[in-house]
């Protein structure tokens, strides 16, 4: 008896998703670069086009008009509501992440202009505890929505996240409905959200605000999946399609609007801001 849901899996022949190597070695073509070389190339491999992870502040600098970015809610910090302790205390992990990244949390928000178009930015940083979403990320995103609504400008969200932050337990799950409600309030205020999904945008972030963009674009090769390939493989023993969960598969299945290479992102977002802008109506 066949299942009621057609669970046949579509396989395609595409290259393997990138594995893990030295951070500045291209996982796709093995070219190695200095930081300044990659910085100059927007952290895109000049040889093969592979998109390296981009830090939040670098991302903001690459999009916002010079001097236009004005950060908001920079002083918000996580608490430890569960006294969470796995192999180490949560508070220790937080302190270490802040030390390592120079960021207070996995998301930076603020006002900006892109090619003269006012907007609000909410940018995640994967280096801060895998971009996981706890109470502070939820609150920051929520405030970004309000800031955009109050000023009558679109919100541009750029995600990179492994999912919810386990160390905040059920409260981290609650950041899903929280950010969803924030986007809905933004929409009720008549403002759009442009969602840019970068590698990886998974689990709780994919299943909440990131998927609610009026326009959703992804960077090439980004993993966009609720459950990542390793867990799917282990749990179901299914043979995974070669491009499982990647942006390319998501485009084919109708989940995103476009795949935009990083060098073209600023122009693409600018065009959208113009179309959604006050003269656009």
């Amino acid at each position: 008896m066949s299942s009621r849901i057609d669970v046949s899996i579509e396989h395609r022949n595409v290259p393997e998703p990138p594995g893990k190597k030295h951070p500045n070695t291209c996982p796709a073509c093995d070219s190695h670069y200095r930081d300044d070389e990659l910085e100059a190339a927007l952290w895109v491999c000049p040889h093969c086009g592979h998109h390296f992870t981009m830090r939040a502040r670098t991302r903001i600098a690459s999009l916002a008009d010079e001097g236009s970015f004005s950060e908001e809610a920079a002083d918000l910090r996580s608490e430890d509501p569960l006294d969470f302790f796995d192999l180490r205390p949560y508070t220790e992990r937080l302190a270490e992440a802040e030390m390592k990244t120079g960021l207070g949390e996995a998301m930076v928000i603020g006002q900006a202009a892109i090619d003269g178009n006012g907007c609000e930015l909410a940018v995640m940083d994967f280096s801060f505890m895998g971009g996981s979403m706890g109470s502070v990320v939820g609150e920051k995103f929520s405030r970004a929505c309000d800031s955009a609504a109050q000023r009558g400008v679109p919100l541009v969200s750029i995600t990179a996240s492994g999912g919810a932050r386990m160390q905040e337990g059920i409260l981290s799950l609650m950041q899903l409905p929280k950010t969803v409600c924030a986007v809905e309030d933004l929409h009720d205020a008549g403002q759009p959200m442009i969602s840019v999904m970068t590698h990886p945008t998974t689990a709780g972030v994919l299943a909440s605000f990131a998927s609610l963009g009026d326009v959703i674009v992804a960077e090439p090769g980004a993993l966009l999946a609720f459950t990542g390939p390793r867990v799917v493989q282990q749990t179901t023993r299914e043979k995974l399609p070669e491009d499982f969960g990647l942006a390319e598969q998501n485009l084919r299945f109708g989940h995103i609007d476009a795949i935009v290479p990083r060098p073209e992102l600023r122009a693409y977002v600018t065009r959208l801001l113009r179309l959604f802008g006050p003269n656009g109506d």
Binding site: G138, S142, M174, L176, T227, T235, T236
Partner: protein, 310 residues
């Protein structure tokens, strides 16, 4: 620790009393309920008690959605299909008469025997299941039926087709739709409230938990596998992230705890249904006089207030 826990609950009570909310009666009802909850709690659950909740929430004889439907509803009509590609048997939807009014119901549904478990995918919805739920939400909104949702899902399904069919987006959009509804919504976690699969249908005006249910951001095993690198450490993980009803109440994530028969819901399904029915009815009675706009605004404000930060 008991004292500490009580303290926090008292703090929350104090905070609620200080809020200048619309609808004084509703607020005082809320306070009264918290007061009752507080009295019931002698001490925060121990690690052992938390693990017992995990076991009871997953007990193979625990009543499922349809067990409650048959005990609580008259004139029940189950509806089927997402009007797109499938009828996901892991999600049950329908309309029925509950305490004198027509309500729409969405419930996760596990299977009792092997055959039914397979048919219902062990209670784990595909994206088609969330879309089926959304169709019911639209029907409820169109006809002004209050919406009840019973949550009992181990988690979103970790399968290839579920991803290809857009699991993440479906969970997000289901929540978004709930945040837009003008009808009263009451959710009760009746077993496992597992991660995205649970929250997809739990953005409600009132969120309840049965005493032995759990509400988690990730399964204890999944958490253990990641943080302890050993799924067998699930008990430690559960103790660390505290998915039991008492802790969820303390964190402000749920509004109240629905008592179960001594020994768990499975020991006396009729009594469990009676207690659940009472709690659902009380919640609906409170919500029904509230105008649609205020319901929606308050619902969003409530979820937007969740989180702890400095």
């Amino acid at each position: 620790m008991a004292t500490d826990h009580e303290l926090r609950l008292r703090e929350r009570l104090t905070r609620l009393r200080g809020l200048n909310l619309l609808g004084g009666t509703r607020l005082s009802a809320e306070l009264e309920k918290l007061q009752r909850q507080l009295e019931r709690i002698q001490a925060a659950p121990t690690d052992e008690e938390i693990w017992r909740s995990v076991e009871l929430a997953r007990h193979q004889d625990r009543p499922y959605t349809l067990d409650y439907v048959e005990r609580l509803f008259e004139d029940w009509v189950e509806l089927h299909g997402d009007r797109g590609r499938a009828d996901d048997a892991a999600v049950v939807v329908g309309i029925g008469r509950f305490e004198g009014r027509t309500v729409a119901l969405i419930g996760n549904q596990k299977g009792r025997d092997i055959k039914e478990r397979t048919k219902r995918n062990f209670g784990m919805a595909y994206p088609e299941g969330y879309r089926k739920a959304m169709r019911l939400m639209e029907l409820a909104e169109r006809h002004g039926f209050p919406l009840l949702s019973l949550v009992d899902i181990p988690g979103a399904y970790p399968g290839v087709a579920a991803e290809q069919h857009g699991q993440g987006g479906a969970i997000a959009r289901s929540q978004a739709l709930m945040s837009r509804l003008g009808v009263p919504i009451v959710t009760c976690v009746i077993g496992e409230g597992g991660s995205g699969g649970a929250i997809a249908t739990a953005l409600a005006d009132r969120v309840l938990m049965q005493a032995n249910s759990i509400y988690t951001v990730i399964s204890p095993e999944g958490c253990a596998a990641i943080l302890w690198r050993d799924a067998a450490e699930a008990k430690k993980a559960a103790a660390a992230f505290k998915p039991d009803a008492v802790h969820c109440l303390e964190l402000g994530v749920i509004d109240s705890i629905v008592p179960e028969p001594e020994g768990g819901a499975h020991t006396d399904p009729d009594e469990a249904a009676r207690l659940l029915g009472e709690a659902l009815r009380d919640a609906l009675d409170e919500l029904e006089p509230i105008p649609a706009d205020e319901l929606k605004r308050t619902r969003r404000a409530k979820f937007r207030s969740l989180g702890v930060y400095a």
